[in-house]
Symmetry: C2
Subunit: 322 residues, 2 copies
């Protein structure tokens, strides 16, 4: 029975990976500091009898000691500060949670003899690229956010550990993910606003920002497809996204259709929602598609599924308010 | 009188920048933790009456408090762990000295209102690129050393601070630098070996590794030329190197000519000197050349100047032994 360790196990994407690994019959150790993770996301995992949960702060250098061994088939490192927007309000958080924590995980793996790390990077690493759709090997980008910078730094650490210590690294650069257990970002913000007042909607930016979203189920499928493929090189990097994009305005239309509301829209203006916001993230996913993967849900269907999930799980909206 | 702060002021490149800024009439505060820096490199600086030296460990978050202000014309951030080769022996050192320290410097600048950082990056950020000579916008590279990874991380932090907080960043990606005050790397290793025993020379790798070196005086010239040019964008990146390269064997020939010795050569073999060694770094320097800069010394002349300097400063060879 394969044994895995998942960091950020109580998070949106981490808990989905936990569930998928368990569904495939594996034994999983989940680690989370519960700063933003939700134990409710792990209820079904706990029911399997093959899941073990440990509350640990990975900023502590020895957090993973005793939890890894040469028998650990892979470490899925999902723990991260995923809040891009408020980066400038706490400029050390991305460095600590995304870069230093990744170093701590790699060092724990090296000491314990664990050999494979699967890492959630981001399309934000492409900063303000001028190449769309953006392939993995686009021109060396300039970072625009502390979040993107911290993930580029983490990727570099994985790559150097692969070269120096024989660790294998599978790096996935995501667009924003939507779907079940989604709990921050514009679909939640807009849904929450419209449930409070269905007659008006305040929008950061001019509504023309184009974004590419991927449905969580498709994201997990893609990771599994990539990991099942031969990995001849120590480091493999895959963009994960859809071959389409959507404007914020069109996304709002999908949200309003699902909620059956028709609000007045009030725009703050400008082509960016906030400082460091990428006006456009749209990834070239030819590499992962060449392995036979393709998304099952369109962006619009993914957004609508997310709204339905939020309506059925209003506790997330309540928590987001506080 | 312009005021500058130089970190790593007692180092090889840092002290050369200090001397140049003072020669141009500026006031300079130099900071160094003296872990590898040499106060002897600052003797002429101290004689000017416009130089102030502070011993500080930049890993301490408040190390620069009181030393920066909105009147600081620029921070030259040269403090770094520059030892690429032994990275795997102390895997946290690059993270701390090159990434976290850079964050500390940026954060101190933000708090104090200092607006311009000049940063010594490295051609090692290109990892195992396949593009030669390598331009600044080559395909998004894969890191091969902890050193390169830590510098990519630092570059990303500078870029994110530029976008988020209005700090201006001038980033220089160096090839290896040689010349006066050079004190680690193969020219020193070979010179030291040959002074001990002029009849034999042990060489890591097969001698065919090709490297590009730049003379320290040309390096400082290039930085000054770049800083004098208009900087319309918040982040400017320049490769600094020569338009030629040299094999380790040819470099040895230059060293032997300067020392007037003819040793037997013993090769350890392989196309890399050590794990993580880049077999080839050769930068496309068209960007800095377009500003009118060109190196005055060839690589061969730079290597010979370095050997002459080491012969006149044997205390450096003595220290390297211990």
């Amino acid at each position: 029975m394969a044994r895995y360790l998942v960091t950020g196990a109580a998070g949106f994407i981490g808990s989905a990976i936990v569930d998928r690994l368990l569904a495939d019959g594996a034994h999983v150790v989940g680690v989370d500091n519960l700063s933003t993770g939700k134990l409710r996301f792990l209820e079904s995992a706990r029911g399997t009898g093959r899941f073990e949960f440990v509350t640990k702060d990975l900023l502590e250098p020895d957090a993973l000691s005793g939890l890894l061994s040469p028998d650990t088939a892979a470490v899925f490192h999902l723990a991260a500060n995923a809040d891009v927007r408020f980066g400038p309000d706490h400029p050390r958080r991305d460095l600590e949670q995304n870069t230093i924590v990744t170093w701590n995980v790699l060092e724990a793996m090296r000491k314990a003899g664990a050999r494979h790390i699967v890492f959630s990077s981001t399309g934000s690493v492409y900063g303000e690229t001028k190449v769309f759709p953006t392939p993995e090997a686009c021109p060396f980008p300039i970072q625009t956010s502390l979040y993107g910078a911290s993930k580029v730094a983490a990727e570099g650490l994985l790559q150097a550990y692969a070269e120096s210590f024989g660790i294998r690294a599978s790096i996935f650069r995501f667009v924003s993910i939507v779907g079940e257990r989604y709990r921050h970002g514009h679909v939640l913000d807009f849904t929450a606003q419209l449930l409070r007042d269905p007659t008006r909607l305040r929008i950061l930016g001019n509504g023309q920002q184009r974004k590419s979203y991927l449905y969580i189920g498709d994201c997990i499928d893609a990771i599994q497809v990539a990991l099942a493929a031969p990995q001849p090189r120590p480091v493999e990097i895959y963009n994960l996204g859809t071959d389409e994009y959507i404007s914020v305005d069109d996304s709002i239309a999908a949200i309003c259709a699902e909620l059956k509301v028709q609000p007045e829209r009030e725009y703050s203006g400008g082509d960016r929602g906030w400082i460091g916001d990428n006006p456009f993230i749209f990834l070239d996913c030819a590499r992962i598609r060449a392995l036979g993967w393709q998304p099952r849900l369109t962006i619009r269907d993914g957004v609508r599924a997310t709204v339905r999930y939020l309506l059925a799980n209003r506790w997330l909206l309540e928590e987001a308010k506080s």
